[in-house]
């Protein structure tokens, strides 16, 4: 029975960053990853989030140190530019790699004829 009590801890699932593993935050980080910086209007338009949702998710990302908010002025109007930090960029790269590994492992299980697909009792 000992082998049946093995858990998924320290497996590929645990390497998935929970901060990024939410569709809304992933959309925000993806947009910021391909840019240098963007304002909130741009992110609202590109992600389809409401202002309230965006604000909540940005707070979480800022709390994790993944984004920085630079407040300034565009002419006389206040403007906040949002930028992915280096930590955020690294986290996004690692998230993509972890997801790819996880999906590769899953695919190996699903592919017929591979050793992992053999029923254990046969």
């Amino acid at each position: 029975m000992a082998e049946n009590t093995e858990t998924m801890s320290n497996g590929p699932v645990d390497q998935i960053d929970p901060v990024l593993h939410a569709a809304a935050r992933l959309k925000v980080v993806t947009q910021l990853y391909v840019l240098d910086a963007a304002d909130a209007t741009f992110l609202v338009n590109r992600t389809g989030l409401t202002w309230g949702n965006l604000s909540t998710h940005l707070s979480k990302l800022e709390g994790a140190g993944y984004v920085s908010l630079n407040k300034g002025y565009q002419g006389k109007k206040p403007q906040t530019m949002i930028r992915l930090t280096n930590k955020g960029r690294r986290a996004f790269k690692q998230y993509r790699e972890a997801m790819q590994r996880l999906l590769e492992d899953t695919r190996r299980v699903d592919e017929p004829g591979k050793p992992m697909d053999q029923p254990s009792g046969s």
Binding site: T30, V34, T41, V44, N45, R46, W51, Q74
Partner: protein, 208 residues
């Protein structure tokens, strides 16, 4: 956002801010110059019939910038581009400069040959068509807007088509007013449709 394709996301993000129809209208204004200038050359002369458009184009540019900041930016937001995109845009600037210098040299050579009795519709048409094609292809690539390539093909075709219409007796002034006028109207309409689609959207409200 079905699968994450970062290149596509960057392209779409770039286009969402830059492809607002206003550039099309600027291009249309420039093309309209080729349509109207030949009609004015009788009264203003060859040089002034074109030169008079420079302040007009400057005013159009300023109006477009004003409209962009007042109507477009509040709706689409603002973004600062990645180093890769900035490098693309810098290369576009250099390439545009090189092509324009080549255009100037080929134009000077064509005038030099024309002065010495070399004639023929292809003395100006072929080099100019090629230059237009190259310029718009560069623009289409750097701005990630394939539509500009179609503009390039259409505008490059304007010269031989206009000349043909002129020789057949269907158009005056080497067909310029007809072909470039039609192209300017078509490009302006495409730009206007894109612009109205964006400008008619409500400004995202911060209170959601």
């Amino acid at each position: 956002m079905n699968a994450i394709d970062l290149k596509r996301e960057e392209r779409n993000a770039f286009r969402s801010v830059t492809d607002t129809g206003l550039r099309d209208m600027m291009i249309a204004s420039f093309v309209a110059m080729f349509a109207i200038a030949p009609l004015l050359s009788g009264t203003l002369g060859d040089f002034w019939s074109s030169a008079v458009f420079l302040p007009v184009l400057a005013v159009v540019y300023l109006i477009i910038r004003f409209v962009h900041s007042r109507l477009i930016v509040p709706r689409v937001g603002q973004a600062q581009w990645s180093a890769v995109r900035k490098s693309h845009l810098r290369r576009l600037g250099v390439a545009m400069l090189v092509v324009n210098v080549a255009a100037f040299i080929s134009g000077a050579v064509a005038f030099f040959l024309a002065e010495r009795g070399v004639t023929g519709p292809w003395l100006f048409s072929v080099p100019l068509s090629l230059i237009v094609m190259v310029l718009f292809s560069l623009l289409a690539y750097a701005m990630s807007v394939p539509r500009y390539f179609v503009y390039g093909v259409a505008l490059a075709a304007c010269l031989p088509v206009g000349e043909w219409l002129f020789q057949q007796g269907y158009a005056s002034h080497h067909g310029f007013p007809m072909v470039f006028g039609s192209a300017a109207i078509a490009i302006a309409l495409i730009g206007l449709v894109k612009f109205v689609r964006i400008a008619s959207q409500p400004i995202p409200a911060e209170d959601g």
